[in-house]
Assembly symmetry: C2
Homo-oligomer: 421 residues x 2
């Protein structure tokens, strides 16, 4: 492990070089401006959330906190859909960044298409919060809203495979059976010995699906105080760390446009989501709503696409992917799916435990804790954590999941920059 | 008058030429596709409005029809904010047009920034419908949402004056006093003898203000069945007629990009607004909401800006401008302003008459019908029409206003293409 850490040492000189030469000017101008905007965005969010919470509460856009069942505040109305404030403050911040930095048509196309896709997604989330849309709309509309994004994609559509994977496609400069199979749909680059697969349109399809996945993934891993805003915050910070690392380790004083794009979008996101988190943290004074989940998902998808980072992005979503895969049997109605699958509060103590669904049939034996159980834990990683670690406080569960999210980010970093380098 | 009509004759050959040569191919490809999309958009709107009306009704997003007071249906809840459906169908239609036609970065910038501004405005309208925002947000947010639009403006920032007006600025190749005054802020082109004034940044400011004005103008001239969707429809058809006339009269077989842009945005707008109109026409089964007013206003502003048509556009808004100017004393609280200024229903007969506000003070003598009145008609052109033409049926009043809108369009056409040519 110490060896791995030492491997980072060689990049230190270039970090220092980058910071103290031409980069400094660029840093002050752009990143400095963006940091300033993001700090403002943080305070604007803090200021506006109580104002909009009054609006939503007055109009009945509110919900009960299911994790507070049996306590004195069980019947309190908690204002809903406050991700709205985040979204609007974020849009305004990025418009201002764009006014400063987008100078040529190529950049404007990227900024404008990104703005549109995110705006359309926030809009859709808010419609969902106010009208409770059916699932089909939640799948069709993100697909369409990501079309302008894909249309403006200007990066490579090739996939770079590390040697261990490449050897499945080519060995001794000849295509393997799998390689030939893949070669029907895409182009396996023979000169690169299978390390490059040109996916063409399939890559655009992959990115489109990723946009749909991201927007819904955060929405599924949700429901306890501070979890949605918290996971958005952790993912954004990880992405920011990756990008800063890439800029520093590239060892040049020319920052690529796409790295800068990511930073200009991540900083205001971090600012606004932190503002929301301070109201949504246990005990939650506001709920974030689908608005925030969709906004976060699309923002990450946009950054993944325009900063040419979509495969690494997928690794940052490991908890969401695991949660989605684990949920599939219930989501697709292969097993009974109660309306709420949230952990339930234990009576008399301030602890949560896993919620269950009826599973008498032997078909569900894999999901039972003991073979003669008639109730199985609902298939979300929230319930899984509670089953593994025993009942815990709502805040502790959030911290656990966020810690897991952080560990996955570290793992992604290890895979991307150590294993595959 | 006959002379004026004869003046159109010379353009006829070029109309025929344009249609029967290269233009035909372009016509079939682009405009044909756009017409097909718009017909689909019309039917999609027809199909989706009842579905979403159920959603909004279920969630309490509905209102009472004030024009039906005293009738059997007075207490019926009418679903609100159905402009939402128009907006989303319109966005999807234009995304599809964009996929087909936007081929280079310059076009993509225009399409994407237009999409964003319209989407943000629809979003804002919907927030307003669900939360009832304060006036300040309605002025700040459109301003910000039009920034990407202005940033991507690539046309001229000069204003072309007709001779009669130009002579106020320059006479005998010398600047007049007024000309010198204007020359401080802008550049009066001496070579063009005052006919061209280069406004620079002021022109951008003008367009930004126009976007804010358009989005709010339709919202003020509203409130009776079929009026909002109707005026949007009349303005859009007028704009389309102007654009088609320009294409035909330019006499070349190269259609300018900006003319095409306008047509690709106008056709789906006409389709969706017609769909909405058929539900909103007297007796209204749905209300259009601020969503539709903002959506319409921003769409027209976007077309005005990107198809370099903003001054002519202003002439199409004459009824809205007159209504706004007439409303100013009440809007800015210089006079008492009741919460609703809609015409009121006469008891027992199915007719509307003007509503009033208390105006005993002699300060309001200009607004009184008779000098000893204690109540004056509210300052909207709806009430003005009812005062002039006497009580009329709600549907008749809508038809009257739409007719007035149509006459103003004809007047604008006369000024733009006959008087100033």
């Amino acid at each position: 492990m110490k060896d791995k850490l030492l491997a980072f040492l060689p990049i230190l000189p270039s970090v220092i070089y980058v910071i103290w030469t031409d980069y400094w000017r660029l840093f002050v101008q752009r990143v400095g401006f963006s940091i300033a905007i993001s700090v403002l965005a943080y305070f604007a969010t803090l200021r506006l959330i109580p104002i909009f919470a009054d609006y939503t509460l007055k109009k009945g856009l509110s919900g009960k906190d299911l994790g507070k069942k049996g306590t004195a505040v069980e019947n309190n109305d908690v204002p809903e859909a406050l991700g709205l404030v985040c979204g609007i403050v974020f849009l305004i911040s990025t418009i201002l960044s764009q006014l400063m930095f987008a100078t040529n048509d190529k950049q404007l196309v990227i900024f404008n298409s990104a703005l549109f896709s995110i705006c359309f997604m926030i809009f859709l989330g808010y419609i969902d919060d106010t009208l409770d849309l059916k699932w089909r709309y939640k799948l069709i509309l993100p697909t369409i809203s990501s079309l302008p994004l894909l249309l403006s994609y200007s990066g490579s559509t090739a996939m770079y495979l590390p040697q261990p994977l490449a050897s499945f496609l080519m060995s001794d400069h000849k295509l393997t059976v799998l390689g030939q199979l893949i070669n029907i749909f895409a182009v396996v680059d023979a000169e690169a010995n299978g390390k490059i697969v040109e996916l063409g349109g399939w890559f655009l399809l992959f990115m489109g699906l990723q946009a749909v996945f991201c927007t819904n993934a955060i929405n599924i891993l949700a429901g306890i105080n501070g979890l949605e805003a918290g996971q958005g915050f952790v993912i954004a910070c990880s992405l920011l760390f990756f990008k800063v690392y890439e800029i520093c380790s590239s060892g040049t004083n020319n920052i690529k446009e796409n790295e800068l794009f990511a930073i200009l979008y991540l900083l205001p996101y971090i600012g606004t989501s932190l503002g929301l988190l301070s109201y949504n943290w246990y005990p939650a004074k506001v709920f974030v709503g689908d608005t925030f989940c969709y906004f976060s998902g699309m923002t990450f998808a946009v950054i993944g696409i325009h900063s040419h980072f979509s495969k690494t992005l997928l690794m940052l979503f490991i908890p969401q992917i695991l949660n989605f895969l684990y949920s599939v049997p219930q989501l697709f109605k292969l097993m009974p799916c109660p309306r709420h699958r949230l952990p339930k509060k234990l009576p008399n103590v301030d602890l949560l435990t896993y919620s269950t669904f009826p599973c008498e049939s032997s078909r569900y034996r894999w999901f039972k804790i003991r073979s003669n159980d008639t109730e199985c834990p609902n298939c979300t990683i929230l319930n899984l954590f509670l089953r593994w670690f025993g009942p815990m406080h709502e805040r502790s569960l959030t911290v656990c999941i966020l810690l897991f999210q952080f560990i996955c980010s570290a793992l992604a970093f290890y895979i991307r920059y150590v294993l595959l380098e």
